[in-house]
C-alpha cells in the first residue's frame, strides 16, 4: 500500500495550527542577550570614523562589534567572496550593516544603536543598470562594475536571421521583488564547549551558514553546529543572507560568552536582505511564416546590487533558459550582472528565470500576433520534446511533458472559446486570455556542481519507529511530508511511523543548499539509498525467520511477505525485534550524487541540468479601460513534475506561486529616492497580494516519469511563479491591444499607454 502519490496530511500541520511550532524568535535561553544592527544611512561612502563610546555607556549594553572585532575573515562566503559581514572602509548601499550591539534588553540595544556615530565621506552613486554600464561610471568594486558575464553560442545567428520571414526586436524591464516571507530573518547563537558554537535560526541552507560562521570566527567547521528552527517561508530569501546574520550573532556570542538572539524587524529585513534582480533585456527573435524559430539573440543585464552574493549563478540559470523551452538552432546570448549602489540581489523563486521568461514569452506572443498564428499554437509548433536539444546543446532524453502541459491547460481553460468570446468585449471592461510556457532545470546543475550531493541518516528504533535526518530543510514547501512518504514506501512501513528530525549540521554530511527544487530528488534518493542498505540487513533476518529467500520477499504496509503466497508473512515489528536480538545495525547513512552535468564557459554549451520540469500557464484578466486596473480572473496552470509525491502539496505550491506571480506582474516594486534609499520598506507601501487580490486557480498535474528521481519525481517548488507574469501580460494584450514591456503593469503605467493609443 503505497503512500507515494497520496495527499497525506502534512507532518507539521498540527503544531502550526496550535501555535506550538517554535520559530527562532519563540526560543529563549537563560542569560540571553538581544542584538540589534547599526545599518548604514549613507548609500555609497567612505567610512571616516565609527564612534561607539556613547553607545557603550548605555545601561545594559554588553558589547558592540565593528569590523575590527572580527577574528576571522570579514567576508561572507557565497559564490564569490565580496560582501563583508560588517562594512570596513566603505558602505556600498543604504542599510548595509556596520556594527551590531548586544544588550540585556531590546530597549538598551535600540538606544545604543541610535548613539553609534558614523562619519561618512559620500561617493558618487550608481543606481541603475544603465548608469552602471556607462564607460565613465564610478567603480563600486576594484574589479569594476561587472560582477560576472556568461554567454551561449550555438549555430550561426546571422544565417538564422537571414532565413527568417519576420524579425522582432524589443526591450524589456523588470523590477526588484522582495520575498516577503512572513517570518523575518533571525538567528540565535549559543556558545558551546571547547570553543564551539551552536547557531539556531531561520534558514534554507545550514551548510552555507556553517561555513559563514566558521569564516567570521576563524574556527574549524567541526566547532560550528547549525540547527534550523521552524522556518516561516524562504522563497530563496533565506539562501544567502542568513550567513551574514548568523555570523554577526555568533561573533557577539563568541565575544561575550553568552547566548545572543538577533531577529530583524520588517524594515531591517527589507533594507538588508537579498532581492530578485531587476533586469534590462534586449531580445531579437527570427521566425519563418509558419512560426518556427530560426534565430534568437539576447543581451541582458541584471542589477546585482552592491555585492555579488549569488548573482553569477542566478544569471547563469537565466542564461540557460533564455530562449525558452523551444527548438532553435541559432542562438547567441550574452548576459552580464552589474553592480549598483542598491541592495544586493540573490535567490528568489525562479532564480533569474522570471526576468528572461517574461521577455521570451512576450516575444512569442508578438510573433504569434504578427504571423496570425494562435499563441498556444506557436508554442506547440516550437515546443521541445524527447530527443530535442536545448540552446546549450543538451539532448533531452526523458521526461519532457511540455506538449501535454500546453494541451491540458488550453483544453481545461476553454482557450479557443474564450479567445473569441473575450474579443467581443468593447466597453470599459475588457477581458483577455493569454498563455505562456516555460521550463526549469532541476537542482543546481553544472552551475553548482560542487554542491550536487546529499546525505541522509535513517535509523530504525527497537519499537520499529523510524528517524530520518537530512541536510535539506523545510521552509513551508512540505519537504518533511514528502520525504516521510518516500521513506515509508522505501521501507514498506506506515507514514505515521516516520519522523524527520530537526535539521542539524552534525547529523549528516554537507548536503548542499535547499534551493532549486532539489530536496525531493537529492534527499529523497539519499534516503532510498539508506533504506536499501537497511532492507538488505533486514532481508537476511526475515529470510531466516521465514525460510524463504529474501529476493522473493515483499516489504509493504508494515509487513514482509512471500511474493508468491502473501499469507506467508511476518510483521515488520517482529523482524525488527529479531534484528535487535541479533545485534543487527539498524542505522545507516545514505548518499546521493546528482547525475552528470557540465558547462563550457567558452562556447556556452553543455549538459546543464540533469532534468527539467515544464509548465504552461493560461491567464484570464479583465482590464478596466478607464483606470488601467487589471484584475486576474483565472489562472490555469499545468505542470509536468515527473511524479507528484503528494498532489495536495503540489497544488499548494502552484496556488502560492501563481499569487506571487500576480504580485510580480501587477503590484510589487521596490522604490528608491534619488539618493538611493529604499522608500517603501514595509507592507503598507510595498504591497503584496492579499486574499482579495487572488484569482481562481486551476492547478493541473502532468506526470512524465523521470527514471532517476525517487518514484519518478523531478522536484517542484520554483516553477509555479515563473510563467505567471508573461501569461498575464499576454492576456492584457489580448484584452486591450496594448503590449506592456515593463513590470509591474500598474494601473498608472497601463492607463498612460491606453491613453496614448486613444
Amino acid at each position: 500500500m503505497s503512500v507515494v502519490g497520496k495527499s497525506v496530511e502534512r507532518k507539521d500541520a498540527l503544531d502550526k495550527v496550535l501555535g506550538l511550532a517554535q520559530y527562532v524568535d519563540d526560543m529563549h535561553f537563560d542569560n540571553m542577550l538581544i542584538a540589534k544592527g547599526v545599518y548604514s544611512k549613507e548609500t555609497y561612502g567612505k567610512i571616516i570614523s565609527i564612534d561607539i563610546s556613547k553607545a557603550e555607556r548605555v545601561k545594559g549594553v554588553v558589547k558592540i562589534v565593528t569590523s575590527k572585532d572580527i577574528p576571522g575573515e570579514n567576508l561572507v562566503p557565497i559564490v564569490r567572496k565580496d560582501m563583508p559581514f560588517l562594512a570596513e572602509d566603505v558602505v556600498r548601499y543604504y542599510g548595509e550593516p556596520v556594527a551590531y550591539v548586544a544588550a540585556e534588553t531590546i530597549e538598551a540595544a535600540e538606544e545604543a544603536v541610535k548613539l553609534v556615530h558614523i562619519q561618512y565621506k559620500p561617493l558618487e552613486t550608481v543606481l541603475s543598470i544603465e548608469e552602471s554600464i556607462k564607460e565613465k561610471a564610478p567603480k563600486i568594486h576594484p574589479h569594476g562594475n561587472i560582477h560576472k558575464s556568461y554567454k551561449i553560442r550555438k549555430g550561426d545567428v546571422a544565417r538564422g536571421f537571414s532565413e527568417a520571414d519576420i524579425i522582432i526586436e524589443n526591450e524589456y524591464r523588470t523590477p526588484h521583488q522582495e520575498h516577503s516571507y512572513l517570518e523575518t530573518n533571525g538567528m540565535l547563537a549559543v556558545p558551546a564547549y571547547e570553543g564551539g558554537i551552536t547557531v539556531y535560526g531561520s534558514m534554507q541552507c545550514p551548510f552555507y551558514v556553517q561555513e559563514g560562521v566558521a569564516n567570521i570566527l576563524n574556527i574549524p567547521l567541526n566547532k560550528v553546529r547549525i540547527v534550523q528552527t521552524v522556518t516561516g517561508g524562504g522563497f530563496g530569501g533565506k539562501e544567502d543572507i542568513p550567513s551574514l546574520y548568523a555570523g554577526n550573532a555568533a561573533l557577539l556570542a563568541y565575544l561575550t560568552g553568552r547566548p545572543v538572539k538577533l531577529v530583524l524587524t520588517r524594515e531591517e529585513d527589507f533594507f538588508t536582505s537579498s532581492k530578485r534582480h531587476p533586469s534590462l533585456i534586449k531580445y531579437k527573435t527570427g521566425a519563418r511564416k509558419d512560426g518556427t524559430l530560426t534565430a534568437i539573440e539576447v543581451t541582458y543585464y541584471l542589477d546585482g546590487g552592491a555585492y555579488s552574493t549569488l548573482s553569477p549563478i542566478v544569471m547563469w540559470r537565466g542564461l540557460i533558459h533564455a530562449t525558452g523551452p523551444y527548438r532553435c538552432e541559432n542562438v547567441r546570448v550574452d548576459s552580464h550582472v552589474v553592480a549598483t549602489n542598491r541592495v544586493h540581489c540573490g535567490a528568489f523563486r525562479g532564480f533569474g528565470q522570471p526576468q528572461v521568461i517574461f521577455a521570451h514569452e512576450s516575444q512569442m506572443d508578438i510573433l504569434a500576433d504578427k504571423l496570425q498564428i494562435d499563441p498556444a499554437e506557436i508554442r506547440r509548433i516550437n515546443a521541445v520534446n524527447v530527443g530535442d536539444e536545448t540552446s546549450t546543446g543538451q539532448k533531452l532524453e526523458t521526461s519532457v511533458g511540455l506538449l501535454e502541459t500546453i494541451e491540458k491547460s488550453v483544453d481545461k481553460s476553454e482557450w479557443q472559446q474564450k479567445r473569441s468570446i473575450y474579443e467581443q468585449d468593447k466597453g470599459d471592461k475588457r477581458r483577455g486570455i493569454g498563455v505562456s510556457s516555460c521550463f526549469y532545470g532541476v537542482s543546481l546543475g553544472a552551475g553548482g556542481r560542487k554542491y550536487e550531493r546529499s546525505g541522509a541518516y535513517v535509523e530504525i528504533n527497537r519499537d520499529s519507529s523510524v528517524n530520518v535526518a537530512v541536510g535539506t530543510t523545510e521552509m513551508g514547501q512540505g519537504m518533511r511530508t514528502v520525504l516521510s512518504q518516500i521513506t515509508a514506501d522505501a521501507l514498506g512501513v506506515k507514514y505515521e511511523d516516520i519522523y524527520i528530525v530537526p535539521v542539524d549540521s552534525t547529523r549528516v554530511p554537507d548536503s548542499g543548499p535547499t534551493v532549486a527544487s532539489r530536496a525531493t530528488v537529492m534527499s529523497g534518493n539519499a534516503i532510498r539509498d539508506a533504506c536499501r542498505q537497511l532492507k538488505e540487513r533486514l532481508g537476511k533476518v526475515a529470510e531466516e525467520m521465514l525460510k524463504i529467500p529474501r529476493e522473493v520477499l515483499v516489504w509493504d504496509n508494515d509487513e514482509v511477505y512471500f511474493k508468491q503466497n502473501p499469507s506467508v508473512k511476518l510483521t515488520f515489528k517482529s523482524v525488527i525485534e529479531e534484528a535487535y536480538k541479533r545485534d543487527v545495525h539498524l542505522a545507516t547513512q545514505g548518499w546521493f550524487v546528482a547525475p552528470y552535468t557540465t558547462f563550457d564557459e567558452e562556447t556556452g554549451q553543455g549538459w546543464c541540468y540533469f532534468t527539467y520540469v515544464y509548465s504552461t500557464n493560461v491567464a484570464e484578466v479583465e482590464v478596466d479601460m478607464t483606470t488601467g486596473i487589471v484584475t486576474v480572473l483565472k489562472v490555469t496552470a499545468a505542470h509536468d513534475l515527473g511524479k507528484a509525491i503528494n498532489p495536495a502539496l503540489v497544488e499548494g505550491q502552484i496556488q502560492g506561486g501563481v499569487v506571487q506571480g500576480i504580485g510580480y506582474a501587477l503590484i510589487e516594486n521596490l522604490l528608491y529616492d534619488k539618493s538611493g534609499k529604499m522608500i517603501n520598506p514595509n507592507f503598507s507601501t510595498y504591497i503584496i497580494p492579499t486574499s482579495v487580490d487572488t484569482a481562481v486557480i486551476d492547478p493541473i498535474i502532468v506526470e512524465h516519469i523521470y527514471p532517476d528521481g525517487p518514484y519518478g519525481a523531478k522536484g517542484f517548488g520554483e516553477l509555479p511563479i515563473i510563467g505567471v507574469a508573461p501569461a498575464i501580460v499576454n492576456a492584457v494584450f489580448h484584452a486591450t491591444g496594448v503590449r506592456m514591456k515593463e513590470l509591474p503593469v500598474t494601473p498608472e503605467r497601463l492607463f498612460s499607454v491606453i491613453g496614448e493609443k486613444k
Binding site: S7, V17, G19, A21, L182, R266, G476, F683, I697
Partner: protein, 156 residues
C-alpha cells in the same frame, strides 16, 4: 518608560493581575511576559495580521493594542482556541484542507477566521476573503485557507 500600572484582564479564560508599563503592546505582553509565543510578530506595525488575537470578541492586531487598553479585557489567543485536548473545528479544517505551509501566518489567520465565523456563521467565499484580507500569507495563495474556512463554517 512610564510608571507601571496595575491591570486586570483575562487571557484564554485565565485571570491575570499584572503590573505593566502602560505603553507596552499586547503582543509584547503575550509573547514576552505571558510566554504565549503562538501569536507571531511579522511586522510590528499592523500591516501583516500575524499577531491577530481576539480582544473582547473582535479580531485585533496585538501589536497595535497597548496595555492601558486592557483593563477588564478578555483576550483569546491561538493557545486558547481548542477545548483541552480537543482542537477547534477551524484548526481541524486548516489541517484537512492543507491550508498550512510555513505556518507563520496561520495563528493570526485562524483567529481572524474565528472572529469572522462568530459574527457571520455562514459567510460567502467573498465574505471569507474580505474577512482575512488583513492577514498576509506569502505561501499558499490563500486558496486552501479559504476552503478551510468554508469547511469549518459548514461543519459548525
Amino acid at each position: 518608560m512610564s510608571d507601571l500600572i496595575n491591570l486586570n484582564f483575562t487571557v484564554n479564560g485565565e485571570k491575570k493581575h499584572i503590573k505593566l508599563d502602560p505603553s507596552m503592546t499586547l503582543l509584547e505582553i503575550l509573547r514576552n511576559i505571558l510566554k504565549l509565543t503562538g501569536t507571531k510578530e511579522g511586522c510590528g506595525k499592523g500591516e501583516c495580521g500575524s499577531c491577530t488575537v481576539l480582544l473582547n470578541g473582535k479580531a485585533v492586531n496585538a501589536c497595535l493594542v497597548i496595555a492601558s487598553q486592557l483593563e477588564e479585557a478578555e483576550i483569546i489567543t491561538i493557545e486558547g482556541l481548542g477545548k483541552g485536548e480537543e482542537i477547534h473545528p477551524i484548526q481541524k479544517a486548516f489541517i484537512e484542507e492543507g491550508a498550512v505551509q510555513c505556518g507563520f501566518c496561520i495563528p493570526g489567520m485562524i483567529m481572524s477566521a474565528k472572529a469572522l465565523l462568530d459574527e457571520n456563521p455562514h459567510p460567502s467565499e467573498e465574505e471569507i476573503k474580505w474577512g482575512i484580507s488583513g492577514n498576509l500569507c506569502r505561501c499558499t495563495g490563500y486558496s486552501k485557507i479559504v476552503s478551510a474556512i468554508e469547511k469549518a463554517a459548514k461543519e459548525r
